[in-house]
Symmetry: C2
Amino acid sequence: MRVLTASDLEQVLDFPSVITVVEDAYREKATGDGTIWPMIYHEFISDQADMDIRSGYLKSQGVYGMKLLSWFAGNDAKQLPELNGTVNLYDDQTGLPKGIVNAAALTGYRTGAAGAVASKALANPDATNLLLVGSGSQAAFQVMAELTVLPKLRQITIVNVVSPENAEALAQSLVETLTNQFLPAIDSNSEEHQRLAKQLAALKVSASDDLKAATRQADVIVTATPSTKPMIKADWVKPGTHINTIGADMAGKQEVDEQLFSSAKFYVDDRTQSASVGEAQTAVKAGIVTEEQLPEIGELLAKTTENQWDPQTVTLFDSTGIALQDIAAANLALTNAAKLNLGQTINL
Amino acid sequence: MRVLTASDLEQVLDFPSVITVVEDAYREKATGDGTIWPMIYHEFISDQADMDIRSGYLKSQGVYGMKLLSWFAGNDAKQLPELNGTVNLYDDQTGLPKGIVNAAALTGYRTGAAGAVASKALANPDATNLLLVGSGSQAAFQVMAELTVLPKLRQITIVNVVSPENAEALAQSLVETLTNQFLPAIDSNSEEHQRLAKQLAALKVSASDDLKAATRQADVIVTATPSTKPMIKADWVKPGTHINTIGADMAGKQEVDEQLFSSAKFYVDDRTQSASVGEAQTAVKAGIVTEEQLPEIGELLAKTTENQWDPQTVTLFDSTGIALQDIAAANLALTNAAKLNLGQTINL
C-alpha cells in the first residue's frame, strides 16, 4: 500500500491527465460504470467544523474507495491546515488496500479538473477573459485547470467580495505560484508544457472590486467561495458566458442568482447532491427547477465530446463534488507514483 | 499518523482492555455520546465479494472515523486473506488523521469483545460450558473474549455443521493458539495474566457433531458462522443459557431459531441494523418482534453494570457490529502503540 503526501501529489499529478480522468469518471457515472454511494455528513460545531465521507466504485479503473475530508476553521489559529483528510483506495479484484492519499491536496486537483471539464465542453474555446470569484485554497487549482483547457485565456480577474486585499495579494503572486506548483509535473519536452509556460508568461492577472463590471467582461466565470448569498446577478452575465459554480456543497450555500437556472443552460455533477447541497438548491426551493430537471454533465459527455458553446447562450455547471473524481484522481496519482517509486509504502 | 498492522495489534491489544472500551462504546451510543452514521454496503459479486463502510464519532475519546472492510471469497485460491480493510481515525479537535489500523485483525478483537460484553452482563457468571458454533476466523477471538469474562469456563465444545473436520482441527489447536496469540499482550505480572494462563492450561476443548446435545449442555453459546438457516432450535436451549449470535450481518443470514425472539430475553447492538441485517431480521419479518421492540445492549449498560443472569431465562444478544466498536478498539490500539512507539509513522 502506497501513501502519498501533498508534495508527492505535486510531482505525480499534472492537470492535463487529471482533467482526462475526471471527464472519464463523470461519463462513467452516466453510463453506470461508476457508482457513488450515499454521502455522510457531520457537523461538529455549527459553521466551524464539519466532515464528510464520499465513497464509490470506479469499475473501469478496478478501484473503489472513499474520501473523508474535514474542515476545522479553528485550525488556522493553531497554524494547522483547515482541511484535512484521507482518500483510501482498494482493488476491486481482491479488496486489498491500494493506497492512501492526502485528501486536501487531491481535492484541489479534482475540483480544478471538474471546472475544466465543464469549460472544455461548454465554454467559448477561444475565451480570453476569466473571472475568478474567490481567492482561497481552490483559486490556484481552478485557474491552472482553466488555462489547461482554454489556451487563449490571457486575462484573469480576481474578485473577493469579503476581502478585496486577498484578491490583490493573489493577483500579485498567482503566475509564480502556478508556474512553480503545477508546471514541473508536466513533461518539459511536451507541447503541453511549452504551451502552458508561454500562456503563463503572457498572462495578465488583476484584482477588481467591481464584480458587476468584471462579470460583464468575462467569457468564463469560476465562483469558488463559501458564500451563502448570491453574488452575481443573472442580468450581469453576457450571452455566451460559461459559469462554473464550485463553492456550494452544503445546505445554505449560494454563489450566483438562482434565476440563472431559468435563463441559462445548466448541468450538474450529481442531481441529488446538487438539488440538496449544491448551487441548484435555491432554484429547487424556489420552484424554478426540479431535481429531475437537472441534467448531469456526465450524461452530456457520454453523448458527445464536442464543444457545445453557443454565443447566444449562458451556460452554468454546478459542481458539488463526487467520490468518483477523488477515486479517479487518487488512482492516477498512485499509478504514476508506482512508476516513479515515489511515496512511502506500508504493509498492513 | 501511525499505521498498525495485524501483528502490531497482537502486541498492543489485550482482551480485558478491548472489552472495557467496547462496553463503554455501547453505553455511549445509548447516552448519545457516541454516534453512528449510516452503513454503506456494496456487493461486487453475489455471495462472493462485498464491502461495507461503517463510520461514527466517539466523543469521549475525541475521535471519529470509519472502517472499510471487504470480503472476497476468491482470495483463498490466490493465497490472500479473504477479509481486508482499514480503519481510519481522526482527531475531533483538528480533523487531523490520527492513524490507520488493519481492519481485519481489529474486527476479530472488537467482535470477540462484543460477545464478551454481553456475556458479562447476561450469562451465568459461573458458567463452565461454552458451545462455539463455527470454526472460522472469529473462533479464537470469541473464545478468548469469553474466557476473559467467564473465569469458570472449563469446557469448550466446537460444532461446525458444514465442515465437522474443521471443528476437530480447531479443537486440537485452540489452546495453543489462544496462549500464543493473546496472552503475550497481557502484562505477565498481572493477576489477569496468571488467571487466564491457568484457565487455558486447564481448558478442555472438543469437537462435536451433535449440535442438539451440545446445545443442551451449554451455559453459553456463541454462533459465529455465515449461516443462512437456523441451526439451533429454540426448544433445545435450556433455561439460564446465554446466546451470542455473531454471524448475521447482512440480509438473508440466520443462525438460530427466530422463535427465540419470543421465548428469550434479547438485546441487540443497534436496533436498525439488527432488524434489517442481523439475527433479528427473520423474527421481524415473521412479525414476532418489531424493530422498536429490540432493546439495545447499551441501554441496559447505561442503567446498570450488574450481572442480569436469571437461571430460569434464556438470554440472547444479537451482534451486527457498529463503528463505535471499531473506533474504540482502534483508538485503544493507537494509544497503546504510541506509548510503546510501535508501528510505522507517516506524515501526510
